[in-house]
């Protein structure tokens, strides 16, 4: 009925293609989200003070933004349509809910962004100062609004809510828009993601400003930019810690397997340990009896405490989630698979009975289906261990993100301290500081991509948590077609990235325009 015998390589290639597009897209988007606000702050100061140097500063960052923006748009359109081209069964299964945020994104956010971006770039000598400033702010707001809607959609996949399954149309239908929009997962995800963008953008600005200071050029522009970016980065860092904590609590509650993977926790319990960092035993599999870690540095009880402010809080590990912990209300995975298969077959029987006009049978089958629907996705799995994501990848990505994020706080603090007192050019180890700032640009990209790896690899095999695994979501097409498009995309995106990096570096070297009227 559904694609029960899907070619596994089709699923892998489709996932690879989506991951490729998403990761390329995410190279460009964080800077866009954050730098627009930084630009808007700068232009606001220009309009307030009338100081042409601020205008020059604004226009310099705007130029870099423009180079970065176009390529984000280019990869974004592919992402949107890939839901249809490569995940068409998914598109139908949840389109009634998932389509709405995408449409609202277009109507509300993309038009705002694309309309005012034109004024921002071309309107300097055509519209009034205030109209121009308003356009810059609206572009920033538009870009962030578009992030809002796509993250609401993503949040819904992690924590499906506000819907019911209609057996006649064979899809989930929305019953409460506000449940979807204001779901705690969506809200946390949105705030955590945009603030991560602000941090990446702040480091981008500080890094490039440091380059100018290293070269002894554009000192005023660089120092002013650093002040704004370090304040913005610091505030965002506080927000990202809070929302990161909020996200982890949500994951613990709604996606316990993801949390277990993030912490490399195979055997759970109360007083669970929070890993500072560690090395998972190479080749470690669930139930192989090997030690979890070769080396570790953790805080006993901290994980339980952070999730529930109670170190006696029980946190299930990977193996507990497979075996089941009845006293904690966790069903064994095999039992969920069995129930899922009942859901799948009763839906099929319901449809046949209904077609044949057998009302009594149809009613009976529907009742059976509804009783087991919450295990529906498990019905497409073969064995309990199918619900385990790639633990090592999730674990290392998560810890890379957290450690880098913590490091960035100190970088922001250092730059804030020196720029606030205007002593950066007198600091003894200033060169070291500048080089660290430059290094933070690629590091911030790594941290930000790692965050998405945690979210998306950590939820495997689910496209829609518990309701639809990737194997049931994929478009029925030959694996070789997807392979071909994967390589075409890989070549095109890489070529565009090379051009963008080359243009960007050159524009940074050229620096801002000579003078501003």
């Amino acid at each position: 009925m559904m694609l029960l015998n899907v070619d596994p390589s089709l699923v892998d290639w489709s996932r690879a293609q989506f991951a490729l597009t998403a990761m390329y897209h995410w190279i460009f988007v964080p800077v866009t989200l954050g730098i627009l606000f930084i630009i808007a702050f700068m232009e606001t100061i220009y309009v307030k003070t009338g100081d042409p140097e601020w205008k020059r500063t604004t226009k310099f960052w705007m130029k870099l933004f423009g180079i970065n923006f176009a390529i984000g748009v280019a990869t974004g359109i592919i992402l949107e349509f890939e839901f249809g081209t490569n995940w068409s069964n998914y598109s139908w299964f949840v389109g009634d809910i998932f389509g709405a945020p995408l449409a609202i994104e277009g109507i509300m956010a993309f038009f705002m962004e694309s309309t005012f971006i034109a004024v921002m770039f071309f309107g300097w000598n055509k519209v009034s100062k205030k109209f121009h400033l308003a356009s810059t702010w609206l572009t920033a707001i538009g870009a962030n609004l578009s992030a809002l809607w796509i993250l609401v959609a993503n949040g819904w996949m992690q924590f499906p809510t506000g819907m019911y399954f209609n057996p006649d149309t064979a899809r989930n239908e929305m019953v409460n828009f506000w449940d979807v929009f204001l779901s705690p997962v969506a809200v946390n995800k949105f705030l955590h993601t945009i603030t991560s963008g602000y941090i990446v953008a702040s480091l981008f600005v500080i890094g490039i400003s440091s380059y100018f200071l290293l070269r002894g050029r554009e000192s005023l522009l660089a120092k002013r930019s650093i002040i704004i970016a370090s304040v913005f980065g610091l505030i965002s860092s506080i927000a990202i810690i809070l929302t990161g904590h909020g996200s982890a609590v949500q994951v613990a509650e709604k996606q316990p397997m993801k949390l277990a993977a993030m912490e490399g926790l195979y055997k759970g319990g109360t007083n669970a340990e929070l890993m500072g960092f560690g090395i998972i035993t190479p080749g470690k599999q669930a139930f192989d009896g090997k030690n979890d870690y070769v080396v570790k540095f953790g805080f006993k009880g901290m994980l339980s405490y952070l999730i529930a402010f109670n170190k006696d809080h029980y946190v299930p590990g990977v193996e507990d989630l497979i075996n089941g912990v009845p006293e904690k209300g966790i069903l064994p995975a095999q039992e969920r698979i069995d129930k899922g298969k009942i859901a799948v077959s009763s839906l099929k029987a319901y449809k046949i009975a209904k077609k044949n006009g057998n009302t009594a049978e149809a009613r009976k089958m529907l009742a059976l289906f509804n009783e087991n629907y919450k295990h529906f996705g498990y019905g497409f799995l073969d064995k309990p261990t199918d619900i385990i994501p790639n633990v090592q990848l999730v674990f290392y990505s998560f810890h890379a993100m957290v450690l880098l994020g913590t490091f960035f706080v100190f970088v922001f603090l250092a730059f804030f301290w020196f720029s606030f007192r205007n002593t950066i050019e007198k600091f003894r180890f200033r060169k070291l500081l500048y080089y660290i700032a430059l290094l933070c640009i690629p590091l911030s990209f790594i941290a930000s991509e790692a965050g998405w790896v945690v979210v998306e690899v950590g939820r495997q095999p689910w496209v829609v948590q518990d309701y639809m695994p990737v194997s049931a979501a994929v478009t029925d097409i030959s694996s070789s077609s997807v392979q071909l498009t994967f390589f075409i995309f890989a070549v095109v995106f890489t070529a565009l990235l090379i051009a963008e990096v080359s243009i960007m570096t050159r524009q940074i070297k050229i620096g801002p325009t000579k003078q501003e009227k």
């Binding site: 009925m1 559904m2 694609l3 705007m62 176009a70 390529i71 748009v73 280019a74 990869t75 974004g76 359109i77 349509f81 839901f83 249809g84 081209t85 068409s88 069964n89 998914y90 598109s91 139908w92 389109g95 009634d96 998932f98 389509g99 709405a100 995408l102 449409a103 277009g106 109507i107 509300m108 993309f110 038009f111 694309s114 309309t115 034109a118 004024v119 071309f122 309107g123 300097w124 055509k126 519209v127 356009s135 209609n166 149309t169 064979a170 239908e173 449809k351 478009t475 029925d476 077609s481 075409i488 095109v492 565009l496 051009a499 243009i503 570096t505 050159r506 050229i510 325009t513 501003e516």
Partner: protein, 377 residues
Amino acid sequence: MASITFAALQHYWWFLVSVLGSALVFLLFVQGGQMLIYTLGKNETERSMLVNSLGRKWEFTFTTLVTFGGAFFASFPLFYSTSFGGAYWVWLIILLAFTVQAVSYEFRSKPSNVFGKKTFETLLFINGFLGTILLGIVVATLYNGAEFSLNTMNHVKWDNPARGLEAALNYHNLLLGFSVFFLSRVLALLYFRKTIENNEICNRIKKQLIINAVPFVLLFVSFVTILLLKTGYAIDPETKSIVFEKYKYLHNLIQMPLVAIMFIAGVLAVLWGIIATVVSDKYDNGIWFTGLGTFFAVLALLLIAGLNNTSFYPSITHPESSLTVYNASSSEYTLKTMAIVSLIIPFVFAYIVVAWRSINKRKITRSEIEDSNEHHY
């Protein structure tokens, strides 16, 4: 009572999707213009003027395409899953053609762009060429159908191994594809006439206008004639099953006179804009007539594709799987929620007009393009 409301919402959303589609066809002047950069611009400055004139508008076309996709997904998800997943290759080629466009404006004239100016101009050409023809072909499949079936879970099975490319072998689809191709060029010429101040370019525009308008009119008239004589996939209002109806689209025009009037008025406005620009040396408002005319004529064509009990995406191989506004739409709740959201569209339109006018108040001149303090492409 509830079912009447649901049907009204389904029709309302077909109307909205059609509005977005029509706006998109008008905005394809950007793609048309990208094919004319070398035809109209004989030196670097002239070409830069043309590229910059388009560069202020490409995002509207792009955004409209994305929003069209999103709105179609939200309102008729079965089309999204059926057509995108089924006609895989044709959609992916369209997407790629738009992906390479987005960067080309920004990268084209920047130093160290690795691949050179010519490459990005070629990408703009490819976007114009493939984007217009393939979008036209895809839209034509709303009348001519495609080869697919849907199972009880509404999952698509495509019956042609070419996965969508087979649509390019149907001559009626091709007629629309090439009509859109020439129309986009005509619109671009009129748009340049309005936005660029340069005598040499204006003289070339006039000549090109005739060269492109004549094939457009011939192709478009052939497409419409065949369409109106065609047997369509109608929905039996009683059983909701698919029945064949001779002259279905002609009947739709007759049975919806407002749509017929819209179509005729649109076509006349298109012609007026072209003719007025050709005969006069001073007239530069052709883009408004031809543009608005395009919008209304396309809107009428899209309305007769889906309204009045017509299948908007027929299955040639399994007619019972054909998509209609009834079986392909979102739930009543979602359509209602989205209908509330759609109330902001006039507001969005208003700010687009304000911003557009503020940028286009003055024509693009040689001196603006040569000013290094201005943002250029």
